[in-house]
Amino acid sequence: MSGTIRKHSWVMGLVLLLVVLLTITKVIQPTFGASGLESIARAALPFAFATAGMAIVVIVGGIDLSVASMMAVCAVTAAVLMERMAGVPALLIVLGVGLLMGLINGLLIVVTRVPDIVVTLAMLFVWEGVALLILETPGGATADWLEQAIRGHFLFDGLPKALVVIAVGIAVVWLPVRRSKLGLSIYATGSDELAAFRSGVAVGRTKVIAYALCGLFCAMGGLSLAALTGIGEPVPGPYLMASVAAVVLGGVVLGGGKGGLLGPIIAVFILRIIRTILTLLAVDPNVTTIIEGTIMVLVVMLGTAASLRGARR
């Protein structure tokens, strides 16, 4: 019981922080409203999906350094396909590509027994290369409806479509998993691999599935990248560090077993709004990048220190 309270109290704290930051934004920029919210939600799209994928592999006790590269592969695949064929089949192919890449990552980790961090570092470069092979320079085009799907508001002003896309995209994949025995197995494997094995969890298979889910979310992230820019960009963006930081800030402990997806997603918005505030304060965008990077590194450092302290007890 106290565990659930603790879990929720962290998320509640994050929500509170989010509200405070939004208020600050409103104070600095009194005109900040629905459209400001909409642009924050849109900018948060790729970060949110990258973070969701990262969160799942961290929960299972691993890490995936190749998220940004997989997103790049999916973005260029989408841009190349949508130039040539109907949108919906292209969309499904891209999702399949993401799933496949994640599956390959997971299988390599389980089969070669090389640690996840090393495998995904190598795959970071492999997928980056693959993205460049598909599209050497930024290009291609995305379907109009894809761009429309994330632009503007849903039903009423103040509910950005991008936010709905994030919520639906993550809920459709994660909620069934979380509710099923697979979800339990993911948490069990990350929490205590030996106890999970003794409880009858197929540890290897669970890990592979977690990585595959991460790939699937990266496909959504890639699609949203393509939708945001209207083209395919083969060079991976800064999503690796950002997703690790959001995952840690969101209450998912590096090492596995703890946390959910809600916290990390809220953390993504917190990090985005900090950027907005800095921009509104007319801080040089480059300085903003430094501040953002410093915050992310500090978050990871604090998270590591906290998890080490927890492990020692």
């Binding site: 390599l108 070669t112 570092l121 470069f125 290369g129 460049l132 480059n286 430094i290 590194v297």
Partner: protein
């Protein structure tokens, strides 16, 4: 099989050299005369120009590979070396135009040291995984570089003459960079083999528990290690500046992946406790030849990147398979 694997692991240099010459032979077949001018109807048995060029471009790569070898000995890695080299080169080129060469070089090197200190604190004291830590500091350093660029945007750049001499000059056909690199390589080899610090790097990577048991305070070693690594990277950046004679905000970044690959090919274990700088030097040469080969075959950039990634993965998986250790 296991015994043979062990032999290769103990003496990586011999098969690596064989492999290097094999690659050169393949290159010669692909483009007759590139290594042996007489076959193309020109003078000379071996092209000193080609060999000199090969070595010249391998030097900065081998120096950055030294960073990876040293950090990998402790089961770490330094992903900030590309950025640090770039920062150092950029700072040096811009400040030389304003304050003169000596302060420029000193400030460039100390910029690298700052990154090293932060890395060392994060890895040694806070115990963040080196991969994440060095990735993060690299990101921050890139941001700082962009801000810095706007401060000095009107000052222009100047490549110090002695760096140009080191980077592009030749003595007896061989690049002048060797005047820096040979003492550097000897120093690293000596450091790894004959100093207490070198022993501790191997010890931490082999069994940190055993090191602790023997009274080693690991954080001191990590701090010194990452500072040293950044210093080497900054030095390599200066050399690279003299070689390329241009400044850019991503000058040395493309060297990061090959530096990891060179170390891994050279027999350094990414899991710590085993590594050879001599191997990494040969690894750097192999990668340069491979690069030439891929260029000749008009292999696109993407395939090259993917291939390097696969090489790292394959060599590491092979290592796990042969030794049965992680």
């Amino acid at each position: 099989m296991v015994r043979f694997g062990r032999y290769l692991r103990d003496n990586p240099i011999i098969p690596l050299l064989v492999f290097l010459f094999l690659m050169i032979a393949v290159l010669e077949v692909l483009r007759p005369g590139i290594v042996t001018p007489f076959r193309a109807g020109r003078d000379g048995l071996i092209s000193t120009f080609w060999v000199g060029n090969l070595i010249k471009f391998a030097i900065p790569l081998a120096m950055l590979a030294a960073c990876q070898v040293l950090t990998m000995l402790t089961a770490g890695i330094d992903l900030s070396v590309g950025v640090v080299a770039t920062v150092s080169a950029f700072v040096c080129a811009t400040l030389s135009a304003i304050w003169g060469v000596t302060p420029a070089v000193l400030i460039a090197l100390s910029a690298g040291l700052v990154v090293g200190v932060v890395n060392g604190i994060g890895v040694g004291l806070v115990r963040v995984h080196p991969l994440i830590m060095t990735l993060g500091t690299g990101l921050i350093a890139t941001g700082c570089l962009q801000v810095y660029q706007r401060l000095v945007i009107n000052a222009g750049t100047e490549i110090p003459a002695f760096l140009s001499w080191l980077g592009t000059g030749r003595t007896a056909g061989m690049p002048n960079g060797l005047f820096v690199f040979v003492p550097f390589a000897l120093f690293i080899l000596w450091l790894m083999r004959y100093t207490g610090f070198g022993r501790l790097l191997f010890a931490l990577g082999s069994n940190e528990q055993a090191a602790k048991l023997s009274g080693v305070r690991a954080w001191q070693v990590y701090l010194a290690l990452y500072v040293l690594s950044s210093f080497i990277a900054a030095l390599a950046g200066l050399l690279y500046l003299g070689m390329i004679r241009q400044t850019s905000l991503s000058l040395a970044n493309p060297l990061l992946l090959p530096s990891v690959a060179a170390a891994v090919i050279g027999g350094t274990s990414i899991f710590g406790g085993r590594g050879s700088f001599a191997g990494a030097i040969v690894g750097a040469l192999i990668l340069r030849v491979l690069d030439t080969m891929l260029t000749l075959m008009q292999m696109p950039e993407g395939a090259r990147t993917a291939l390097f990634g696969l090489i790292i993965l394959a060599v590491t998986a092979l290592y796990v398979r042969i030794t049965g250790t992680r």
